[in-house]
Symmetry: C2
Subunit: 349 residues, 2 copies
DNA sequence: GCCTGGCACTCTCTAACCAGGAGTGCCAGC
DNA sequence: GCTGGCACTCCTGGTTAGAGAGTGCCAGGC
């Protein structure tokens, strides 16, 4: 009895049938029955045989039928096997890629590039696109302090990627414009051109080593810089585009589910978590349904990839859609977008 | 025949009945019939009499029945009359107001305050809140230029409301850091402390008058300032909160309608249009359904109000929800939020 | 002239029912 | 190991019937 094969090997033929079944289901959204499968397999097998095979696949937990007399639908495990080893990629049309490349303005700021990438992802897949802004990738161009009332100072940080960030920091006493200028000059001399991340670490070393030899102003300079850059570390921004595309997806017709999902997008916390996990991996990651570990992603899956700047992974970009999404298109879309975004960010160094 | 009354006066009794009908419908969401109305009117009239009156109201176009044997539902005109002259306001609980006031951080930046206001609106009404960031309200604290490659200059504008804006402007030739410093000094001397709007107008006058007497550097200073501030004029930012609340509203169950609506929120153009119209009016404006003139607002209505800073209308805030929304709560919510936001912005001058 | 109870009528809503169709599992035979 | 055949299950769509809600109109009363 083939039923005994259990976890054991899956014959090439059965793998092909599973592949067909999953693609078919992804396309039509309907449970697929033995007859259709027999017709389209090109394997010259009868429906009855297919039925036997299906029973095997079901025993392996790869497919399941919603009720006795419906066709089969892939399970999460079925999808897993499909995306991991059965899928044939359908590359994007060069026109689309070129259009995207043309549209990217090399003079634009980082956030703009990121949001263009997110838009592109969502428009090409008709799903939701997510891109995190690059993590501490920029280096410092200029630092500036402005006195505010009551021991507060406004710090303005301009980075080489043309972002301007501002933070209000609280200090021990109030400083005059001149003092602050002095401090800023000192810090600019030392840190301009360095990348933000290493400034933070460099700085700590400096501080401990040289503290004795500094005058009071220099010490406060160091203290202030620490405050400024420790906050800057948290690069928790993420740009979501095309959420509304998900409202067309009939697998996500349940308004309440959809609401939960949208709230996750707004909250951004869970998203960041997931993006963070992706950061640590390599290449394209696919989180199928509940696999992601977030309840609200019920029938949703995520195709994510890191992107690189300067040879280092700088951020993550992803597409969110129903588990029943055209992976053969979405995967290359994510892949190419990651490469192009990385290149665009790189070219501006 | 009372049917002849047409546009003529509406007896006090009939007005009361309309009021009851509308409130009842807003609460229950079901067409309301003569029997319920007779019971709750407190007027000691029989259902049959009510029916006659309803027929009159229908002839006046204030109510209409979805089909022969359903109760009556208010028309847009019916709602109009209701909100304009029948409604009894139910003020917010002081606890809620105080909680909001406590939560507003006077040290926060303008955008933060605005988005807190938007959050508050949406949480108190369980609908979507919209707040525009104040229009040219701030005055200039400091201006700074940084040279970029290829005739581009990064301008950083810090305003007294602690916003930091940056623009990339294109210039005729490239300038050195020193030249730019020079220019910035000149502009800061002249414009620091002035409000952004009047700088733009002031400046134009200056330019025309004094151009002859300036050296070349000063002239370019003026040119650059013009570029910077002309772009700054467009204060087209708007903060939307609680969109997802609208997904619970059963009047908006149609996913496609909802999608259109969400896209309007994302686009922001139409929203800004509407907010702009509100800017020009005074007090609370209510746009019922199609009245707003925007198709996507099909079954939605908007309760909007300007808010003032420094005695001048500075921006608009609004609640968007189904036309069948509890106006008696939403109106005071919008009203009080406008006042509190205005006060909070004012206190930071 | 206004209000009322009564009555017939209309329309929606729900449940129930009944094919028709699709797909299955199992079996016996090749 | 594959196949056709067959009985069975379950969903689907359309139809029907009855209940319920509300109406419009009418005739009669104050």
């Amino acid at each position: 009895m083939s039923r005994k094969k259990r976890q054991a090997e899956l014959s090439e033929r059965n793998r092909q049938l599973l592949k067909l079944l999953v693609s078919q289901y992804i396309e039509e959204g309907q449970p697929v029955g033995s007859k259709t499968l027999a017709e389209r397999s090109g394997l010259d097998l009868s429906a009855a045989t297919i039925r036997n095979i299906m029973a095997d696949l079901e025993a392996l937990g790869l497919v399941h039928s919603p009720h006795t007399s419906a066709g089969r639908v892939p399970t999460i495990e079925g999808y897993r096997l499909f995306v991991d080893s059965l899928l044939t990629i359908r590359p994007l049309e060069p026109e689309n890629i070129e259009a995207f490349q043309r549209q990217l303005d090399p003079a634009a700021s980082t956030t703009e590039l990121v949001s263009q990438a997110s838009e592109f992802l969502s428009s090409i897949t008709h799903l939701a696109g997510i891109v995190t802004v690059p993590y501490k990738l920029a280096s410092l161009k200029m630092l500036e302090f402005l006195p505010l009332s009551e021991n507060r100072v406004l710090a303005i940080i301009v980075t080489t990627d043309l972002e301007v960030e501002n933070r209000i920091i609280h200090v021990q006493r109030s400083y005059s414009q001149d003092e602050l200028q002095h401090i800023a000059n000192y810090l600019n001399e030392h840190f301009a051109g360095q990348d933000i991340a290493s400034i933070y670490h460099h700085l700590l070393a400096d501080m401990k080593a040289a503290r004795e030899h500094m005058d009071r102003i220099m010490r406060t300079a160091v203290d202030m810089a620490e405050k400024v850059f420790s906050e800057t570390q948290t690069g928790d921004e993420v740009v979501v585009a095309g959420q509304t595309n998900l409202m067309d997806v009939d697998d996500l017709a349940d308004i309440n589910k959809l609401k939960e999902l949208f709230e996750v997008f707004n909250e951004k916390r869970e998203i960041l978590h997931l993006m963070d996990r992706t950061m640590k991996a390599e290449g394209i990651q696919i989180y199928l349904g509940q696999e992601s570990g977030y309840g609200a992603f019920g029938d949703c899956s995520v195709v994510a990839s890191t992107y690189e700047v300067d040879g280092q992974t700088a951020g993550v970009l992803a597409v969110v859609g129903p588990t029943r999404m055209p992976y053969d298109r979405v995967i290359p879309a994510v892949d190419i977008t990651a490469k192009i975004l990385g290149a665009a960010l790189n070219s501006r160094k």
